[in-house]
């Protein structure tokens, strides 16, 4: 069998590569920079699993229900069942790879996170992503030395190599990539796993993510025919602070450990979340907290700044659980959160929507899988804190397992035959139907263009939306389209239109998508996936049914 080509060397990509290598399968690990630069290292709070080590009687079923309900019942229930059922084993797998989760007497200690009543989040201070990544990088190294994993660092994804045989369905044969150091262009044949992260670069400078998660991969493959879903679902994290060039996250663990949100009303602090939501209080799901912050600062007699008050946290919590957060705030804000409440604002933090896949992480194109934040699968209309790293690690693993299972079912001969024939057949087919592949790298989208498009989308796709603003944004995008210089800019326009269209046709409010002109949830019409496709030069955004019975009431 040919090597599997993994685009992205963050959590999902590393998890896929290691899983394949454990099964004896070879992969190419392709990334713009080394894994240490991946956005996964920024993940702070932790990773969820119903390990039930805290004596609260937590169950997989409760994790499932919290994930489904937190996601506005929009996630794939079959996939979420598998995710939550396998979460304990996933976390234990990470522990076996040496991740130093915080433990007492060898037992992983769990903490509270948003949208969940029970302690379920394994962590390492507030740098959980970094320590998991570090262990996976070390774990992958063993297989790099053995030749099972081959890294292509400083390589850029250019496009999928697609062919279209007589039956009319596109098949993926591999990827085209460019070495950013030498400028040489390579074609790598074999199955592709996209693990390219969230679309932060669609909103440059306005998210908590990295500059490398440009959205370029998603825009390109969308234009090539890979379907996307739930693009209107952008997570605004309630607590971020503006720093030079981006927004910096203040982990949800700050509230999990007792941090409180307030605004000043009539000269006194008003702990609005505690008054409005007496059960989960400051730990309501992120969409609700962000929206309440947005609305509260607009209420009469309220000042326009929300504060996060962590002054009541014990010394031990600062020392063992949030020391890195405290250092960060001291550095960026010159404030000690131990003594002073800090001003916070909601900021774009996560993309629930993205590449549409089934529960095995297959996309609509044969030979293309997707895992991690680039995928739309587990989080529905809103992601729970602690579920992103779980989705990435488990997603990468699941894609890898499915590829190996398939290969084994088809047998060794098939795999060998494919290896010999694929290049020839690919060439023949591609020349027939899709034309000769260019060996030139495409021109990049200009920073000015990307920035202009990002501002338009940010205005349209804010925390509170309405038809007028969305259509206005769509008009501006169409104007900008006239100024497109190259394919990458055109692809971005296409993605932008698909995002806005998704938000326009969802005439209800659900999860992260809040329409002030349609403030209620309408399950009858809209408990459906917003599916975006680009085929035969036509952009289509439509609703499709969610497969599988969630088995719980949506209330």
């Amino acid at each position: 069998m040919e090597k599997i080509n993994i685009i992205g060397a963050g959590l999902a990509g590393l998890s896929a590569a290691i899983t394949l290598a454990e099964g004896g399968y070879e992969s190419n690990l392709i990334s713009l920079q080394y894994s240490e630069r991946a956005q996964s290292v920024l993940a702070e709070g932790g990773i969820n699993a119903a390990l039930d080590t805290m004596g609260e009687g937590d169950t997989v079923n409760e994790h499932y229900e919290d994930t489904m309900k937190g996601g506005g019942m929009l996630a794939n229930p079959v996939a979420v069942r598998r995710l939550t059922k396998n979460a304990p084993d996933t976390v234990l797998w990470l522990k076996s790879l040496g991740v130093p989760f915080y433990q007492e007497n060898g037992t992983i200690i769990l903490r509270n996170f948003g949208g969940q009543k029970k302690k379920r989040t394994a962590y390492a201070k507030s740098s959980t992503g970094k320590v998991i990544m570090n262990a996976l990088i070390d774990g992958a190294r063993k297989y790099e030395k053995k030749g099972l994993i081959r890294r292509y660092p400083h390589h850029e994804f250019i496009k999928l190599l697609l062919s279209k045989p007589a039956d009319g369905q596109k098949i993926c044969r591999g990827v085209q990539i460019k070495d950013r150091y030498s400028d040489s262009i390579l074609k790598l044949y074999g199955i592709v796993i996209l693990a390219s992260g969230g679309m932060n670069g669609v909103f440059p400078g306005m998210t908590t993510g990295t500059t490398q998660n440009s959205g370029e991969v998603t825009a390109t493959i969308f234009a090539q025919g890979v379907a996307l879903s739930n693009l209107e679902m952008l997570q605004y994290h309630p607590t971020t602070i503006g720093i030079s060039g981006k927004r910096c996250l203040v982990t949800e663990a700050a509230r999990g450990e007792g941090g409180r949100l307030y605004v000043v009303r009539n000269g006194r602090p008003w702990y609005f979340m505690e008054e409005k939501y007496p059960v989960l209080k400051n730990l309501m799901p992120r969409d609700i907290v962000s929206r309440e912050m947005y609305l509260t600062v607009r209420e009469k007699e309220c000042e326009q700044q929300v504060y996060l008050d962590m002054t009541g946290l014990k010394d031990k919590v600062w020392e063992h659980k949030l020391s890195d957060l405290r250092n960060e705030i001291l550095y960026y804000r010159k404030l000690d959160p131990k003594n002073t409440p800090i001003p916070v604002e909601p900021g774009i933090h996560y993309f629930m929507g993205g590449i549409h896949t089934d529960e095995y992480h297959r996309t609509n194109i044969d030979g293309v899988y997707a895992a991690g934040e680039c995928t739309s699968l587990y989080h529905g209309a809103n992601r729970l804190g602690g579920n992103s790293m779980l989705g990435a690690v488990y997603g990468g693993k699941t894609a890898a397992m499915h590829i190996m299972k398939n290969a084994e079912e088809k047998g060794h001969d098939f795999a060998e035959k494919t290896k010999e024939e694929s290049m020839e057949s690919y060439r023949a087919e591609s020349m027939e139907s899709l034309g000769e592949e260019s060996m030139e790298a495409p021109a990049e989208a200009s920073e000015e263009f990307v920035s202009a498009l990002g501002n338009i989308l940010y205005d349209g796709l804010g925390i509170v939306r309405n038809e007028g603003r969305l259509k206005f944004a769509m008009g501006k995008v169409s104007q900008l389209e006239a100024a497109c210089h190259n394919d990458r800019e055109k692809n971005r326009i296409l993605l932008a239109k698909a995002m806005l269209n998704s938000a326009i046709i969802r005439k209800e409010s659900r999860g992260a998508h809040y329409r002030e002109d349609y403030p209620d949830r309408q399950d009858e019409y809209y408990r459906k996936i917003t599916l975006a496709r680009y085929e035969e030069q036509q952009l289509e955004v439509d609703f499709v049914q969610i497969q599988g019975d969630p088995g719980i009431s949506s209330e």
Binding site: Q33, Y34, E36, R37, A38, Q39, V41, L42, K95, S96, L97, G98, P100, Y102, Q103, E104, N105, G106, A124, K125, S127, K130, V131, N134, A135, I137, D138, G139, R141, K142, E144, K145, R151, P153, H154, Y181, D183, T210, T211, Q212, I243, S244, G245, K246, C248, E328, Y332, E447, E448, S451
Partner: protein, 241 residues
Amino acid sequence: MVVQFDILRKEKKAEKQYTQSIRYEYENPNESVANALRQINRRQERKDIKGNPVSVIKWECSCLQKKCGACAMLINGKPGLACDARLAAYKTETIRLAPLRKFPVVEDLIVDRSILYENLKEMEAWLAGQPELREQGYEAAYEGSRCLQCGCCLEICPNFYAGGNFFGMASMVPVARILEELNENDRKSLIKEYKKHIYSGCGKSLACRNICPAQIDIEGLLLNSNALSVWKAGLRRHGGV
């Protein structure tokens, strides 16, 4: 506020480096070198102080918040992260930006740091058995997980050069985590590598300790790993512990 950047540049495949001076105005008192580079690259027309056109300045960047190590470079001669360097903190009117010198320059401020990966591979730095993390080892394992692989410690180190036998603290830190998690039997081969590539080459100037952008407790980890590798194992073998 205004600052002049003197940037040491190099075209891909060209041999020679050259300096370009660019004027930069800013308002935010927390403005970083990283954001300044982004703003300059966003300009529709980039010119140097003499009015000559300036091409896009190539540099590596990712998280912009000191957590990924991509943007390591020499800032006024000192290795550091561009996102960690506040313009207002420099007393000079000019800020010099140059690529790290211990690694091959790809172009402008980008260097090829693949030697860091190669060295760790050479040492076979991975868990050779099941981790056995003792409670007292937790802090060391956590600290050893924090290395950014930015290369600043190697740049400042008087003993490290790329291709040399001494691999420096960028190898020591990840290895410290692994040593801490392995039991005595499983760590034997890594100890051998540790002695060869770290213990024997370190001149203990500890310049690395002050330069590390992640402020990793390098000294603590070094003491811990030296103890595990050099004397504790032997002591235990002779019944001393």
